[in-house]
Amino acid sequence: MKNKVSKLYLSLVFLFLYAPIAVLVIYSFNDSKSRGNWGGFTFKWYLELFKDRDIKTALYYTVTIAITAALISTIVGTISAIGIYNMKTNRMNLFLNINYLPIINPDIVTGIALMILFLSANIKLGFSTMLLAHITFDIPYVILSVLPKLKQLDKNITEAALDLGATPFYSLRKIIIPQIKPGIITGFLIAFTLSIDDFVISFFTTGSGVTNLSIEIYSMARRGISPTINALSSLMLAVVLGLLLIINKRTTLQVKE
């Protein structure tokens, strides 16, 4: 009895999670614009999607900003994490408390704070301000990923490297960084994911026609239901599904090894 109830409950929850997405996917193939009728199977919304200039621009900016911000924040974050690791406790705690503010603060406060900063300094909102904003909220997550790995390092191993003749810089390159590599990669992936998906902070810090996918969807959605968004949703779902399947395959392969 317990089993059946559990299974039913879980199924309901999963249904709740997937129903809206399923609806989007199905209606992306609906020839009729209205929700009610099924006008026939069609790919036309997908074609319209590919022709849509705004969406293509948005996609371009989304990916560019995400990759650039993720790369820069991973480099800066990793170097800073190494610096933080070598600090005395009190200073380290102060540093980290400030560092984690963007994570704790609601997006809207971070976004508005940065907007005020840029406008007060008379900087025009656009690509660079959006990039700066992304880097600002990405770096703390990189540090969050890398610092624990640094703390797990066996101190003797770094001493052994010095003992064998390595300068601190050589030891950093050949011994420390290879050992914290998983943390660095995770940090990059988290930063990338956050940037790809960001809405609120980007919304407040961009301008001059620079936009990203989330902002684009927001403006389209405010105008009402649009089948092109449905097509976009299906495509994004396919990409995400593909990514997750690849990740799943890789982790199960690694476990088997």
């Binding site: 540093f95 609601p106 600002t136 989330s214 995400v240």
Partner: protein, 279 residues
């Protein structure tokens, strides 16, 4: 190596001052000054912006935001706790797959997920089209508080499930067996062993749902319509439409205070878990 390496963090510390601390300071500054403070000599410090807030209209917005956020959080807790619990009970082979399936919607863009409900709840949406098909009158499902709550629960449920799942997963199974062995029935085991040990996860979940819920403006905007706005919408309007930065800044400060208070309260509850406090 140690003495020199700490300087590696100094460039970023300058970044933090410019892009984290200073902007927050600017918000604070705007919140306690008035609009015409363009020349330095006309800066007057005032609490007028905060006083403005104590107007029934705005207080209502705040109360509505907190109650909707709190309600959504509680709903997430009641739906999400069993989900987390059941996920820990699945056997190893299926566990990975199910967790993956649970994560998948999270990876979809948040706006798309919110928009999805528009297509279901709207007047020309799925449900109402179905009702018209049956010649039944349409129901106003969209553009009200309930739609907003639905949107919040839908978007933030995973944030409740995962901390609880992690806490439950880490739990030592032998504790349950010991309680069972000592004669406790299932309900008692849950009440006295499982729930208290999962409390840190519950606290995390509550924080991770309440915070974005109380400050979001996307969900109320798309699903709540223009009428019943929440504090996030109000802030957005003040900065982008009305351009009353000072009042907007004051409201931002108020949101920050609310969030820090809620974190403090929840942390206090967490510390008391040893003495068996119940939520």
């Amino acid at each position: 190596m140690n003495s020199k390496s700490k300087y590696l963090a100094y460039p970023y510390s300058i970044w933090m001052i410019i892009f984290i601390l200073f902007p927050l300071f600017l918000i604070f500054l705007y919140s306690i000054t008035l609009r015409n403070a363009n020349e330095i000599k006309t800066i007057t410090f005032t609490f007028e912006n905060f006083a403005k807030f104590f107007n029934p209209i705005y207080i209502n917005v705040l109360i509505r935001s907190i109650s909707i956020a709190a309600l959504s959080t509680i709903i997430c807790l009641f739906i999400g706790y069993p989900v987390a619990y059941l996920l820990t009970r699945i056997n190893e082979e299926n566990k990975g797959l199910l967790i993956l399936l649970f994560i998948l919607p999270m990876w979809m863009n948040m706006l798309l997920r919110t928009y999805a409900w528009m297509t279901i709840l709207g007047n020309t949406g799925l449900i109402n089209s179905f009702l018209s098909f049956l010649n039944l009158p349409k129901i106003n499902l969209l553009y009200n508080n309930n739609a907003v709550i639905l949107g919040m629960v839908y978007n933030f449920l995973p944030f409740m499930v995962f901390p609880i799942y992690t806490a439950l997963n880490k739990m030592d199974r032998s504790l349950i067996e010991a309680a069972d062995d000592l004669g406790a029935d299932s309900f008692t085991i849950f009440r006295k062993v499982i729930f208290p040990l999962s409390l840190p996860g519950v606290i995390s979940g509550l924080v991770m749902v309440f915070m974005p819920a109380v400050s979001t403006f996307v969900i109320p905007r798309l699903l709540g319509g223009g009428k019943n706005i929440l504090i996030g919408n109000l802030i957005e309007k003040l900065f982008l439409v009305t351009r009353d930065w000072n009042f907007g800044a004051a409201l931002s400060m108020i949101i920050l205070i609310i969030i820090f208070i809620s974190i403090k309260i929840l942390n206090v509850l967490n510390i008391d878990k040893e003495s068996g406090i119940s939520l």
